[in-house]
Amino acid sequence: MSLKLDVVDRAIVQATQSGLPLTARPYHDIAEQLGVPPEVVMRRMQAMLDDGVIRRIGAVPNHYALGWSANGMTVWDVINDQVDELGKQVGALEFVSHCYRRPRRLPDWRFNLFAMVHGRDRAEVEAKARQIAALLGTNCRAHSILYSTKILKKSGLRI
């Protein structure tokens, strides 16, 4: 689903892409920058939050700086008619930061459920992956953990 954002919404997105002003009245400062009343900025941002255009407003931690240096993309081959129910359960685990269903690319890629797991080291990621494996049980036919070893590119675009 995609919503129609107008020129004011887009200007707000543009103005806040790198962050919210660290000032006493941040929304008023955005409003001044854009030349619109502060009530409009606050109302539009609340509407974008309600509609999911804005996922949330807050701090985005650098997980490496917090000591979460092992980053494992765990991937699972889950029986198709079970994957939606099980995907929700995996996504609800407190240590899973992202959880998606994606298409298989057979024969080379058989995995349809992706769950990002972070740990202080690989042993911690593996222990968490075992919890996912236990939850999926016999509905999962195979799995793998892909550790990131290098950031090749990270642009300013934040999601």
Partner: protein, 150 residues
């Protein structure tokens, strides 16, 4: 070396979402942490400067704005890895690119204005690299959120 104190940890853990939309949002949140508005702002500035936080503000869901996103992967021969990295990273549509330990050793996120932009970017990478790109757009999102504790 600078280290986070208990208040910094409370801020990192307690401010990963739910920041209010009102005239004085920092003042409102500062009360919860038992500090002043000025101190909360100063601590956030410092957490950003120390790179404990990568960002402070709204997180957007680009698909909701009419753009498109996909995750794509490649199996790149080791001797060809630098060349292919250069080709992939040169595309402005590539937002992030990670090396991972697997036969599929290159994983990148494509972000484009339109859905057609994804297939155009993939076609370009395939032509220039001579390798297959496996497109794996999300079909269902079960959870997205960061729950990192400091």
């Amino acid at each position: 070396m600078w280290q986070m104190d208990a208040t910094d940890r409370d801020i990192v853990n307690g401010l990963q979402g739910g920041f209010p939309i009102c005239e004085r949002p920092y003042r409102e949140m500062a009360q919860q942490f038992g500090i002043s508005e000025e101190e909360l702002i100063a601590r956030l500035e410092n957490l950003l400067a120390e790179k404990v936080l990568t960002r402070f503000g709204p997180m957007f869901q680009i698909e909701r704005m009419g753009g498109a996103f996909s995750l794509a992967a490649m199996k790149v021969p080791e001797e060809d890895y630098d060349r292919v990295t250069g080709i992939v990273n040169a595309l402005p549509e590539v937002a992030h690119n990670y090396r991972r330990e697997h036969e599929f050793n290159m994983w990148f996120v494509l972000a484009t204005e339109t859905p057609e932009g994804i297939s155009q970017a993939i076609a370009k990478i395939e032509t220039e690299s001579g390798l297959a790109v496996y497109n794996m757009p999300k079909e269902t999102e079960y959870f997205v959120g960061a729950r990192f504790t400091a």
